[in-house]
């Protein structure tokens, strides 16, 4: 019970931000919260946010773990392109759905192993190590698709991007279930603590007997796997693998989601739930901008301004000032109370 309240306290700022943004969007675009049922699927802007936010949410899950180890994974956008391309070409060659998914996710894991080895074994700084795959990965994806958009129409694969269960789009289930699973694994075991300890002090962790190399590689593999899932969803969504554009710049949105979620880029304590809310905040801003009807020249400006406000409000100084203010008020209240009694 206490733990639950503490967890809620941890994500309270993110939830408040999300609520504020949703209210803001609803003010600009009335009808925002309308949800109807059409053709057996729920239809409305909040559903769009959950659905469109799926790739960034998935990336944010893996990115949170990587960032908790004081790393960063810039390659996730390119890994999305690779896994999408692998899925499209596998299904085009007549492989079954299971084999296709295995290959696509396997490609993501392989990319993760590559990043992990560069970081954990060779000791290359994560930002540089993953930059390699960020640049080269898109080229690999283009080689697989031969530069064209590889389209497919396999109903099973399309279901992953556009199918619905109980009216909700499939991608929503995928990111929520993945988030829950990863959250349970890291929090119900000591794994999360070990990951945090690497982020806080790699050497001390190693000396304390943690197999940091294996754990680091595993963390990058998790990130690669999440990116691969996002890539398959993105490809299934447009019924084709677009190696040039799939996941382009999404690594930055994923990092932003983690940061908005309050996980420090310096590693250590992390919260997957908060990162997921961060992803939803970003998507709410994106969808809100699209609904608002402002000219596209303002898109980036509006997004940047909102993000800036969020980050300023979350900055250590502001949080400290806010806490101090509350403490002063509390003590004042306490004094008043004691004066009355």
């Amino acid at each position: 019970m206490n733990a639950g309240i503490r967890a809620l306290g941890r994500i309270a700022p993110q939830l408040a931000t999300l609520a504020a943004i949703l209210i803001l969007v609803a003010a600009v675009f009335p009808g925002f919260f309308d949800i109807s049922l059409a053709n057996g699927r729920l239809y409305g802007s909040p559903i769009d946010i959950l659905n469109r936010g799926a790739p960034v949410a998935l990336l944010a899950i893996g990115m949170t773990l990587v960032i908790a180890t004081r790393g960063i994974d810039l390659s996730v956008g390119a890994v999305m392109a690779i896994s999408g391309a692998v899925a499209a070409s596998a299904i085009a060659q007549g492989l079954g759905l299971a084999a296709t998914l295995a290959l696509a996710l396997g490609a993501g894991l392989l990319c993760g192993i590559w990043n992990g080895i560069l970081v954990a074994v060779l000791g290359i700084q994560p930002i540089v190590a993953t930059l390699i795959l960020m640049v080269a990965g898109r080229g690999i994806a283009q080689l697989i698709t031969e530069g064209a958009i590889l389209t497919f129409s396999h109903p099973g694969l399309l279901f992953i991007g556009g199918g619905t269960i109980a009216g909700l789009p499939m991608p929503v289930f995928i990111w929520i279930i993945t988030g829950l699973l990863v959250g349970l694994i890291v929090r119900r075991t000591a794994l999360g603590l070990l990951i945090e300890s690497i982020g806080v002090n790699l050497r001390a962790s190693r000396l304390a007997g943690i197999n940091t190399k294996i754990l680091l590689v595993a963390v990058y593999m998790a990130s690669g796997l999440c990116a691969a899932m996002a890539g398959v969803i993105a490809a299934a969504d447009i019924r084709g693998a677009d190696a040039n554009n799939a996941g382009l710049w999404l690594e930055l949105d994923a990092i932003l989601a983690v940061v908005i979620g309050g996980t420090s880029l310096l590693g250590g304590r992390f919260s997957i739930l908060a990162s997921l809310i961060g992803a939803m905040i970003i998507q709410s801003v994106n969808t809100g901008i699209l609904l608002s009807g402002f000219p596209p020249e303002f898109n980036l400006l509006i997004k940047a301004t909102i993000i800036l406000i969020i980050l300023v409000l979350q900055s250590p100084r502001m949080v400290a000032a806010f806490r101090a203010g509350r403490r002063v008020r509390k003590t004042a209240e306490a004094k008043e109370e004691s004066a009355f009694s």
Binding site: F29, G31, A38, N39, R41, Y43, G44, S45, D48, R52, G147, A148, I149, T151, G162, A234, D237, I238, R239, G240, D242, N244, N245, A246, T287, L290, L291, G293, P295, P296, E297, N299
Partner: protein, 320 residues
């Protein structure tokens, strides 16, 4: 005597035979930007095909998006003394010196698809499409199709600030100007991609009463239209009927959609820039006809009446 005359005659014939190829281009160097899009891959394929048809040896250099590679390629073409150079410049500036070298070597240069910021006398001509005109053709089609009925249009723009987005928007607006019944009610960028086209169309549909206020979609390229078509279908509407769809580029996939009745019209940005270029080159080398400085390619309109399935078959192997 007789004998020597024959020899002279033969000699003259031989001279003529030797001289003839000099009047016709034999070897042409082609410096291509890269293969960043399907369209560019198709341009490369068609340039090779056009060269083959005319018996021209094409020396091909892929610059992989780098100007320095293109300049190197041009210098090597000049060193090999090719008869002409085709250049699809990756950027507009910085070509003066290498173009001057080509001019000094008496090798005519023809620009494909994009322009350069260099004095006009440094290149023979430029072959390209008029982006404003493309937008105008799309707009005219909609004006004629809709007639007097009121029609709310949503627009999927290209990447904000890019010249195709600016020009295709301007051309379309010119075409519908003066027709009070046609109104652009929403306009947003879809970054020329399928994914963004779909996402933005979803928001258009939500914002405009589930799409019931929308009569037509104008997309600055076919890829965004293909994405939007999926969004319209998922919203339970019939693309091509409930919402008219006109876009630009004429890539193979839009013809599939047109054959299925899900898209209505597309304006072709032809990847065959080499055809007009070789024609102009031939006329120039044979008769000394100096071509105009800009040769505009045709912006052909395709509709569902143009047998889209057959066009798809023609286009699908061009490398798009």
């Amino acid at each position: 005597m007789q004998c020597s005359k024959t020899w002279i005659g033969l000699g003259a014939l031989l001279m003529a035979a030797l001289a003839a190829p000099a009047a016709m281009a034999q070897t042409v160097g082609f410096s291509q930007i890269g293969s960043e899009s399907g369209w560019r891959a198709a341009e490369t394929t068609l340039t090779r095909m056009q060269a083959e048809e005319r018996g021209i040896t094409l020396k091909f250099a892929d610059a992989q998006q780098k100007q320095e590679n293109q300049i190197k390629a041009l210098r090597s073409f000049i060193a090999q003394d090719v008869d002409a150079i085709l250049l699809a410049p990756v950027v507009a500036t910085g070509w003066d010196s290498v173009l001057r070298e080509a001019k000094e070597a008496d090798i005519p240069v023809i620009l494909l698809d994009r322009m350069v910021d260099a004095p006009e006398d440094l290149y023979l001509t430029a072959v390209g499409s008029d982006l404003v005109h493309e937008g105008r053709v799309a707009g005219q089609w909609l004006v004629e199709t809709v007639g007097d009925k009121p029609c709310n249009i949503v627009e999927l723009q290209g990447t904000t600030g890019s010249s195709p987005a600016i020009d295709r928007k301007a051309g379309f607006e010119q075409a519908i100007a003066g027709h009070e019944n046609l109104k652009i009610i929403r306009s947003q960028t879809g970054d020329f991609t399928r994914a963004k086209g779909k996402e933005v169309m979803e928001s258009f549909l939500k914002a405009e009463n589930g799409g019931r206020n929308i009569c037509a979609l104008y997309a600055h390229n076919d890829d965004m239209a293909v994405g939007a078509i999926q969004a319209i279908k998922e919203a339970g509407l019939k693309p091509g009927q409930d919402i008219l769809i006109v876009s630009i580029d004429a890539v193979p996939d839009i013809f599939l959609a047109m054959a299925a009745g899900e898209a209505n019209a597309t304006v072709e940005l032809t990847p065959n820039m080499a055809g007009p270029a070789f024609d102009a080159l031939e006329a120039y080398l044979k008769n000394g006809t100096v071509p105009p400085k800009f040769i505009q390619t045709e912006s052909k309109l395709y509709t569902q009446n143009d047998d889209p399935a057959a066009v798809y078959e023609q286009k699908k192997n061009l490398g798009y």
